[in-house]
């Protein structure tokens, strides 16, 4: 990693055309040719863009996610003034999907960020130091992993009565174990490399070695875990909210819009299908992106 600046300098010189490129550059080049991953990226970006311009879109289409109308409930898709119909209280379904997306996407993204931050920090520390810290962390991981994950979430959610903020923290603080294991394993192998040994020899502090020399080499793991975790945590949030223990109505989320969906079977099928479809598409795209990045960063893959 310390060699990168000099490589960049060389690249400017016109005679030196064929120089080695870093794994990150190679990965980016591979990603640019990976159509499936690009399509998935585009879909997720569009979802996020539309969700976060929900106020603007609602304004333009003159729809509202809170305005109830007892005379216009369960309107089907394509109804006049309501492109995706209305729900059981006559609120516009498109607006609710957009605002719900805002909640679901940000909870998933922020919770994954929390989980990955904890996981990476703990993973580097335990992998680097080993010993008691490592044993203790392993014990905590073994304990957390032997409680069925949804039960764990259910209890914590019930105890804390979550707002979106606490829900993010709950999902984040319970979801770091896989990343910790991955990062720990990678750190274990990295810390024996020559450049770490030489950094140690010239007197770099452990903190510097961990966060300047090891952390950048974990980049691919972090990006892959982030994509997968956002997807997995969107699913967890949806399940919790569906059961009534996550995001509480009237705040819409894709999960809680499906609470009680059984009662809509005969009157508004779009209310059953659309929120779940949004979750499904988003999570599928995130998993595809995660896989794509993993393949792109695979050093043994043929180009």
């Amino acid at each position: 990693m310390t060699a990168q600046p000099s490589v960049a300098k060389l690249a400017i010189e016109p005679e030196e055309k064929r120089i080695g490129i870093s794994l990150t550059q190679l990965a980016l080049r591979r990603l640019r040719r990976d159509r499936l991953t690009l399509v998935a990226l585009t879909i997720v970006a569009l979802m996020a863009l539309m969700s976060f311009s929900a106020p603007f879109i609602s304004n333009v289409l003159n729809i509202s996610y809170t305005q109830t109308d007892a005379t216009r409930t369960f309107l089907p898709v394509g109804a006049e003034g309501h492109p995706l119909g209305t729900d059981d209280l006559g609120r516009d379904h498109l607006a609710r999907l957009l605002y719900g997306g805002q909640v679901s996407l940000s909870v998933g993204f922020l919770a994954a960020t929390v989980a990955i931050s904890i996981g990476v920090t703990l993973g580097i520390i335990t992998g680097f130091y080993g010993g008691f810290v490592d044993d203790f962390t392993n014990w905590v991981i073994a304990t957390l992993n032997s409680i069925p994950s949804l039960f764990l979430l259910l209890i914590v959610a019930a105890v804390l009565q979550p707002s979106p903020t606490t829900l993010i923290l709950v999902l984040g603080f319970l979801g770091w174990t896989t990343t910790t294991r991955l990062v720990r394993g990678e750190t274990l192998s990295l810390r024996e490399r020559e450049y770490i040994v030489s950094a140690r020899a010239i007197g770099a502090s452990p903190l510097r070695i961990m966060f300047v020399h090891i952390l950048p080499n974990l980049f691919s793991i972090i990006v892959i875990s982030l994509a997968i975790d956002i997807g997995a945590l969107i699913l967890s949030e949806a399940a919790l909210s569906f059961l009534g223990l996550g995001i509480k109505p009237p705040t819409p989320s894709w999960g809680n819009m499906l609470t009680g969906a059984q009662t809509y079977f005969t009157r508004g099928v779009h209310l059953v299908i659309l929120p779940g479809l949004m979750i499904f598409i988003t999570v599928l795209c995130l998993y595809v992106i995660g896989d794509g990045i993993r393949d792109a960063f695979d050093p043994t893959a043929k180009d």
Partner: protein
């Protein structure tokens, strides 16, 4: 082997200890705690509330409360002459509220001795209520596990045999797709199609509603089992087929496979008799993770399909803040998982002679 099993059991003790501490702290951290949950009625007076608090012992130091929950309090405050009031105590004061009267002796035997307390709302022993729900969950769990194995393993074998062909590609796509589907939504959609539109399958429940109650034998109500089993098994199918494929590909490069092929055995014989048998061995390690997965999945699946099992019971208890039930389900689920892990390790070592017990 007995030594190995024993060592694995001893290793599980710190984990079990961690689970009990963790779940106890969680309950203690709940706003208002069990007293608030029990004294919800606005007509309750402050004095009554204090009485409840005293009965639950929530004013004792936290470590003492934890010990009482774990080991009971009949040895903390006891009545040796049988007059109904305590005359000896350990760790606890004889007279907590300083009214001159000693408190009644401890009645609780603690979870380690099988006493999980009474439900707040049903006022019945939790363990007894759990016993009534466990059969339904076992029925669903076992049928899903079997269905997952019966479907997942052959899919994995075929995907490995036809590696890179259309069958392999389709199963790979399906595995990702089923991983990304929220299972509660899959359940809803299946109910919508097969229950509401086509009317082929019941809309939920474990059996027909009858006035007399009771559960008829399984062959009279198999239609109720189809949808929940399928929904709960999707994860299992995805996992087993992927790992079976990897394991099978691993086995197919072994020398004995080449030997079998070169001595003229048919491909089918080699793949199934020599290959698949050996490729099955690593799958034994999935039993532990499968149990957590099935229990988590059961909470959602049972809620959607109104299946009267542990998962739905737990969700309802969490919503009602019935802490004794919640804690018991967590402890029972965690112990089941730990035993699943130990069992799969031992099983793995038993069926694979290359693994040594040391």
């Amino acid at each position: 082997m007995i030594k190995y099993t024993l060592r694995r059991l001893i290793q599980a003790i710190p984990t079990f200890f961690g689970i009990t501490v963790f779940s106890y702290l969680l309950m203690a951290a709940a706003p208002g705690g069990p007293v608030a949950a029990l004294t919800f009625s606005p007509r309750m007076t402050v004095a009554q509330r204090e009485l409840v608090a005293k009965r639950l012992g929530v004013n004792d130091p936290l470590p003492v409360q934890y010990l009482r929950w774990l080991l009971g309090d009949d040895w903390m405050r006891w009545d040796s002459d049988g007059d109904g009031t305590a005359d000896g105590s350990f760790l606890l004061a004889l007279d907590v509220d300083n009214d001159g009267e000693p408190e009644p002796p401890g009645q609780n035997r603690g979870i380690l001795r099988g006493d999980f307390g009474d439900s707040f709302f049903y006022r019945r022993p939790v363990i007894q209520m759990l016993g009534e729900k466990v059969a339904a969950t076992l029925e669903l769990g076992v049928s899903s596990l079997l269905f997952g194995l019966v479907l997942g393993v052959p899919i994995g074998i075929l995907a490995a045999v036809y590696k890179g062909k259309w069958f392999d590609n389709i199963t790979r796509v399906l595995a990702v797709v089923f991983n990304a589907i929220p299972i509660f939504w899959l359940g809803l959609i299946l109910l919508l199609i097969f229950g509401s539109w086509l009317g082929w399958l019941p809309m939920g429940g474990r059996t027909e509603m009858t006035l007399t109650g009771g559960v008829p034998p399984i062959w009279e109500r198999w239609r109720f089992l189809i949808l929940p089993t399928f929904v709960l098994a999707t994860g299992t199918i995805a996992i087993y087929s992927r790992y079976m494929r990897a394991s099978m590909l691993d086995v197919m490069t072994q020398d004995y496979m080449r030997t079998a092929l070169s001595k003229g055995l048919s491909g089918r014989n080699v793949w199934f008799k020599h290959g698949a048998r050996n490729a099955l061995i690593p799958l034994a390690t999935f039993l532990g993770p499968q149990i957590t997965g099935l229990l988590s999945g059961a909470a959602i699946t049972e809620t959607i399909f109104s299946w009267p099992g542990l998962g739905r019971f737990a969700v309802q208890a969490v919503i009602a803040q019935d802490y004794p039930i919640v804690m018991t389900v967590v402890i029972v689920g965690a112990v089941a998982t730990m035993f699943g892990y130990i069992l799969s390790d031992v099983l793995y070592a038993v069926i694979d002679p290359r693994i040594r017990f040391d």
